[in-house]
Amino acid sequence: MTLELRGARKAFGSVLAVDGVDIEFRRGEVHALVGENGAGKSTVVNLIAGAHALDGGAVYLDGEPVGPLDRRRALALGVGVVHQHPGFVDTMSVAENVELGGSVRRWRTDLPGAREAVATWAERTGLSVSPDATVGSLSIGERQRAEIVAALVWGATYLVLDEPTAVLSPFEADGLLDVVEQMAAEGLAVVLVTHKLREVERSADRVTVMRAGRVVGRHERGAFTRWTLADEMVGEGEGSLEVPPPVGAGQTRVRLHLDGIRAGRLRHLDLEIAAGEIVGIAGVAGNGQRELADVATGLLRPEVGRVYVDGEDITGDAASAVRAGVAVVPDDRDNDALALGLPVWANVVAKRRSGIGGWRGLDRTAIARWTDAVIARLGVRPARRELRAGALSGGNRQRLVIGRELAGEVSAVVVSDPTRGLDPASAAAVLRALVMAADGGAAVMVIASDLDELLAIATRVVVLADGEVRLDRSRGEVDRSSVGDAMLVVTA
């Protein structure tokens, strides 16, 4: 009961995404596929799901070659993929979505049958999914559960979950992993594509580590730890995972000053950030973090209050903020930070108002120089200016954004969840760049839902609760639990 890739090869243009990969998925096992962003994990998934055609090698089911796959054939063989970004139709119910996907090869629909199948599988797996709930009304965790159930209804015996816990709270993530283990125990093959090595350690019976399109490690349960996996993923001489601590606030010159801000859920906020400081903003999501980021970067005009950068008023004026050297790294980088359809170079110069040419046309030489500098500094791969930004992996997209924002004169940096969804090496590169910006004299604000990341680089921690500053201490005066407590104070 196995599904195998042997000698799989896949190139996109001149980029070899998968280069001679042998991998075997067995029924009854949780198989974790790990690697950095861009290591080729998604391509492997797309190859067994029939989304991409193989350039070389073949797929074997129970040792027999199955010939070229397309999506339909892959589904018939029992390959079901639940992607990181849910694909259901929002306005339809779960059962209708299941029927929409399942009825493709039939003449008529069978909605009652779909409802029953959803209910049955929900019951069997313990995934709570209501067949009649409208997909648009579900939380992201519920949608994901619905998609897993849908894959099972469609006959998945090789169930691939792509970064399933990236969008879940820690509690939800644990619950999902329980279900994953149970499904494997019942005879399914579950493939976990993930960065979260803690989860791999917890749930995987077998791990395949990929790097640069090749398999660099195969392990069975007990023969690996998250630390050995991290080393393998990054490879030797490929840059370290170390993030040096910031020099810290030796300076007192205030560069970013938010004065009496009220905006949306942010009820009242005074905050001064000095050169060299990295202020970590912690808080349960939805306590005004989004408003804080938008106000601090001039994108949102607060109802009350002013924002000053180096003494200059930039309130509600993004153009002034850019001129004043405010760097922005939004949490949703695909939608808010990059033009995925445009080439890398266009994204690099997107915020530059001068130095990229004039009426004679774009100054291609200057643009190339800028772009190459950003690519080199943050190690964006592949290092190609003309590549569409959308062709980069998640980690490289974030490197590109950080590189663009931190190039040139930076006075203040406002970043939201800078390492979310990144592999360890990309995360380390991003955090190093932020520390370097602070050491270079910028005022840095890191808004993060991940406390560990925040505590790793912050020189000062501010907790937002109920739209106000609940706690404001230097890093040395707080620990994980005191910050956590402050986040969770319940108000009447």
């Binding site: 998604s42 153009a319 266009a346 959308g390």
Partner: protein
Amino acid sequence: MTALDATARPITADEPAAQGRSIGVRLWTVTAVAVLAVLVAVWITSSIDPLTAVRELVAGAVDGRDRVSETLVRAAPLALVGLGAGVALRGGVVNVGGEGQMAIGAVGAVLATLALGGTPTPLVWLVATAAAVATAALWSAIPAALAAARGVPEILSTLLMNFVTVSLMAWLLTETFLHDDDPYVITAQGDRLADRLEFPTIMDGTRFHIGIVVAIVVVVVAAWWMRTPAGLRIDLFGANRSLAAQAGVRPRRAQARLLLISAGFAGCAGAVQLFGISHRLTPGLTGGVG
């Protein structure tokens, strides 16, 4: 408008686009095969040689001085209106009101000629064309304002404005001072322009007028402009408005500006058609180029 696509060149290697492309390729293949099948069926069942037909089609457009010039005469307003729509589209703004904007531009040009009276001809052309551009831009300020204030999709409002313009033209050309002075004319049409205001033709015996040269120059300049940093900013605005906002672009303003610029090109087409071909306001002046 291939010239306009040059700045942001998409590149090959990537996963989602590769999927999109294969669907695109399949769609094209299916369409091409279907069209080919119909053509072959027609060929087999009729006695006409299709190659003759193709030859006639091409010859009709480019065979001889008359036909080349006539092709250009027809192409000039199309190019200007299309250019306007294309520039806006690069910024993600869909202007399908080119037809109405062109007509209203021509009205603006006529009003300018009436106001200018005996001014030297080249100056009248210049001012009247500017007036056409301004009138069309002003006309598109209605959908632009609706979009900015109420979020009305410009694709709908600009389309519907075409119908408003048709009625407005009919009224202007029958009920107002713009109606032809000739008492025997009862149809909707305007006064004939003074002879001196007609664009001179460049080739004898054809309708190849200097407005066509103007159109070509405008197209070249616009194509050039789209390859400058300003053009790149339009591309960025079209590709990701959040990113453009972070770069200091105000989305509502930028959208309105693009719509106005786009309409300006259509207005220019109105002036070119007025002085070059129709020499008077008529309901059919635009020739359906929108």
